[in-house]
């Protein structure tokens, strides 16, 4: 009771003092003051006030940087937005030399960005859930830490390395799978191709990006699954459930917030992926639903590939506008993700 700091250390545990035992319910505040424990008041020294102010400043720098990123991107993209207006978001064209009269916009680029990210998620989410369950529930205790380290190592491999590996090693091996999908599932529109060119497709880019998404979503999901109350798990087993029955009825419902939040964090990462996508895809500006077909795009990759030719004035401003779109997109996805995780039952003690 006389601790200076509250002992419970989770977010949102600014729990007040418990009500005095002998205070009658509904008693006037003045009388309960007289009966309750003496409130602790502290006058912080000047050094402590400086310490608190400095660390607050350190924390707020993150906010300042985020604000400045938004501000400067808005300022620098103003010229392009003034020329293109709202058609910037609906036009699927970007001529090599932008002038005041050219039609340009990011519709196709954003379309392919989202498409690649969704392909990556379709692969990465089941793999992440399975890996997180394996680490949290199935793996013998002594291999959990090495396994976690290896998954983290997958996150530490630079995007550039993924790109080189994906382009030179994985792509020749994926073409056969693409061709097979097209031959046998070609009646589904997304697996159709207009001409049999399977290199540099959104599908291959999505597979490589999924490898970069897996460690991020896995680490969130693993944390959430490992928070499942032991009592509920044992109760399910004691009622005669199999291990899978226990996971299906206890662990997965408990961790649903973490699974959604972890997947969305992965989505945020996949949307912003630059170099790996830039190496694998061959940029096109025509919207096509055929994911196995050569040709794709991504906002980040487009900026990286076009930057050296876009010096000064309108071309640069248009790239800034594309960057602003990407920034806002990932910001919204990430904030929603951390909101979902922190509000869910399982994630309340977890920071992602």
């Amino acid at each position: 009771m006389l601790l200076i700091k509250p002992p419970a250390r989770g977010p949102g545990t600014e729990s007040g003092e418990p009500p005095p035992v002998d205070a009658t319910p509904g008693a006037a505040p003045a009388s309960s003051d007289a009966l309750g424990p003496r409130s602790i008041s502290r006058n912080r020294t000047r050094a402590d006030r400086i310490y608190r102010g400095l660390s607050l400043a350190g924390g707020m720098i993150t906010f300042v940087v985020l604000f400045l990123i938004g501000l400067f991107l808005v300022i620098r993209s103003a010229a392009a937005i003034r020329v293109a207006g709202l058609r910037f978001f609906t036009t699927a064209a970007w001529p090599p030399f932008l002038t005041e009269h050219s039609q340009f916009g990011i519709a196709a680029i954003v379309y392919y960005t989202v498409e690649i990210a969704l392909i990556a998620l379709v692969i990465a989410v089941p793999v992440s859930i399975a890996t997180a369950l394996f680490i949290a529930e199935y793996a013998p205790r002594h291999i959990r830490r090495p396994l976690t380290s290896l998954v983290d190592l997958l996150a530490a491999v630079p995007s550039l390395i993924y790109g080189l590996w994906g382009f030179f090693y994985l792509q020749p091996r994926m073409i056969g799978v693409s061709a097979w999908l097209n031959a046998h599932l070609g009646f589904i529109p997304i697996f159709k191709v207009t001409e049999p060119l399977f290199r540099s497709s959104p599908f291959i880019a999505g597979v490589v990006v999924s490898l970069m998404v897996v460690p991020i979503s896995t680490s969130v999901m693993r944390e959430v699954f490992s928070q499942t109350p032991q009592g509920e798990k044992e109760a399910a087993l004691a009622l005669g459930g199999t291990r899978w029955g226990m996971i299906r009825k206890v662990v997965l419902p408990f961790g649903v917030g973490g699974m959604i939040g972890g997947s969305m964090l992965g989505l945020g990462r996949a949307l912003g992926e630059t170099i790996a996508v830039a190496i694998i895809i061959s940029p096109v500006l025509v919207i096509s639903p055929h994911i196995l077909q050569s040709g794709g795009n991504s906002v980040a990759a487009w900026i990286a590939l076009r930057f050296s030719e876009s010096t000064g004035g309108l071309p640069l401003s248009a790239l800034m506008a594309a960057g602003l779109t990407l920034f806002l997109l990932t910001l919204v996805v990430n904030v929603i993700a951390s909101f979902i995780v922190s509000r869910s039952r399982s994630g309340s003690g977890i920071e992602i």
């Binding site: 940087v65 985020l66 300022i75 399975a130 061709a179 031959a183 992926e273």
Partner: protein, 370 residues
């Protein structure tokens, strides 16, 4: 397996029922027929796929073969266990094996990446790579001429400056989130999370829009370091906060009870206790920053000659070197540019691996163990 349960009554009862007396069994223990079913199913599905595969999917290659094998194996495994133990057990074991295969299968791309990059990277690796730069080297000159010393120097300087900028800020933010716990704790945490999601290319564009366009500086290693520190800051802050949370509250309370002010508690008790964890946080931040390529295109730009001054003029770095050599090669295999790109990639992945292993070794101390 406990062999102490030598209850004579049990034996009598068991023998009178006409059963053999079995040693007591742990509920989760594996029996020999579990292994038999597993490997039997694996072998039978392998031979089945072997027979049918070429007729069904003649083009899909080795990867397709592997996928078909795993799918057939799971089916056969499920059917066999269903016959032996019933559907409930069959589903349970099917899920267990499926999850295990996916989790272990995740290591396949990791190993494949490491082996492929190391294999390709060793082709043209000579000592010149660390000693020479690319001055006057034509793109089609043999890959063993020239080197990446300018890129290595640039990477060291840029990551070093980024460390100097982002580590104090990141640890201060972590101290605010975990030690000070003012009213802004939740918002700061949200900002840090949001910042960790900023795409690296956006960080590069931001520095280009401010440092180069608005303040009229030229391309330089320092601009690259600014962009890298934007990417490192949230990593350092989040990892440090996790580490600070593991410092036992008893230490803080003891320090405060002895009358030391809050800043003194943080400075002399909390931070030294978490020292090894904080070093881990810094190294993980470095590992993230050293491989970033996209922001460097628009901040340090890259050059062919040694430029050891990070504050003036374009500077090369390892990821940028790899990226530019890859672009020179144009996607062709075996060209000198291809070999140079992979030698650079080899150096890069070695740096990342070494940093990662150091971080894990340091992070093994008792306060960071989960």
């Amino acid at each position: 397996m406990s062999t102490q349960l030598e209850d004579p009554g049990l034996h009598v009862q068991a023998e009178s029922n006409g059963h053999r007396s079995l040693p007591p069994m742990k509920p989760g223990a594996l029996r020999w027929n579990d292994f038999a079913i597993f490997f039997g199913a694996a072998a039978s599905s392998l031979s089945l796929v072997w027979l049918v595969y070429e007729r069904l999917a003649p083009t899909a290659g080795a990867l397709g073969f592997l996928i078909c094998w795993v799918a057939t194996f799971l089916l056969v495994y499920w059917i066999v266990i269903r016959e032996v133990d019933g559907p409930l057990v069959a589903t349970d074991k099917l899920v267990a094996v499926g999850i295990g295969i996916i989790a272990v299968g995740l290591l396949v791309p990791l190993v494949s990446i490491l082996v492929y990059i190391i294999y390709q990277g060793l082709h043209a690796l000579t000592v010149h790579f660390f000693l020479k730069d690319m001055t006057g080297i034509a793109p089609d000159a043999p890959a063993t001429t020239g080197g990446a010393s300018h890129a290595i120097v640039g990477s060291l300087e840029q990551v070093g400056i980024a460390l100097i900028i982002s580590v104090p800020i990141g640890i201060t933010a972590a101290v605010y989130m975990n030690e000070v716990r003012g009213q802004m704790t939740r918002p700061v945490r949200t900002f840090v999370n949001a910042m960790s999601g900023v795409p690296s290319i956006v960080a590069g564009l931001f520095i280009y829009a401010t440092w180069l366009l608005t303040f009229h500086h030229s391309f330089s290693g320092f601009a690259a370091a600014l962009a890298l520190s934007i990417l490192m800051l949230p990593t350092v802050a989040r990892t440090s906060e996790e580490v600070l949370r593991l410092v036992p509250d008893g230490l803080r309370e003891a320090s405060l009870a002895l009358g030391s002010p809050e800043w003194r508690t943080t400075w002399s008790v909390v931070l030294p206790t978490a020292r090894s964890g904080l070093v881990t946080a810094v190294i993980l931040g470095m590992a993230r920053a050293v491989g970033e390529t996209a922001p460097l295109i628009m901040t340090s730009f890259g050059t062919q000659t040694m430029n050891a001054n990070p504050f003036s003029g374009a500077q090369q770095s390892l990821p940028l070197f790899v990226w530019q050599q890859y672009q020179l090669g144009g996607g062709a295999v075996g060209t000198p540019s291809f070999l140079r790109a992979f030698t650079g990639a080899f150096a890069l992945i070695m740096v990342v691996l070494v940093l990662f292993v150091i971080a894990r070794l340091i992070g093994r101390s008792k306060f960071t163990a989960r």
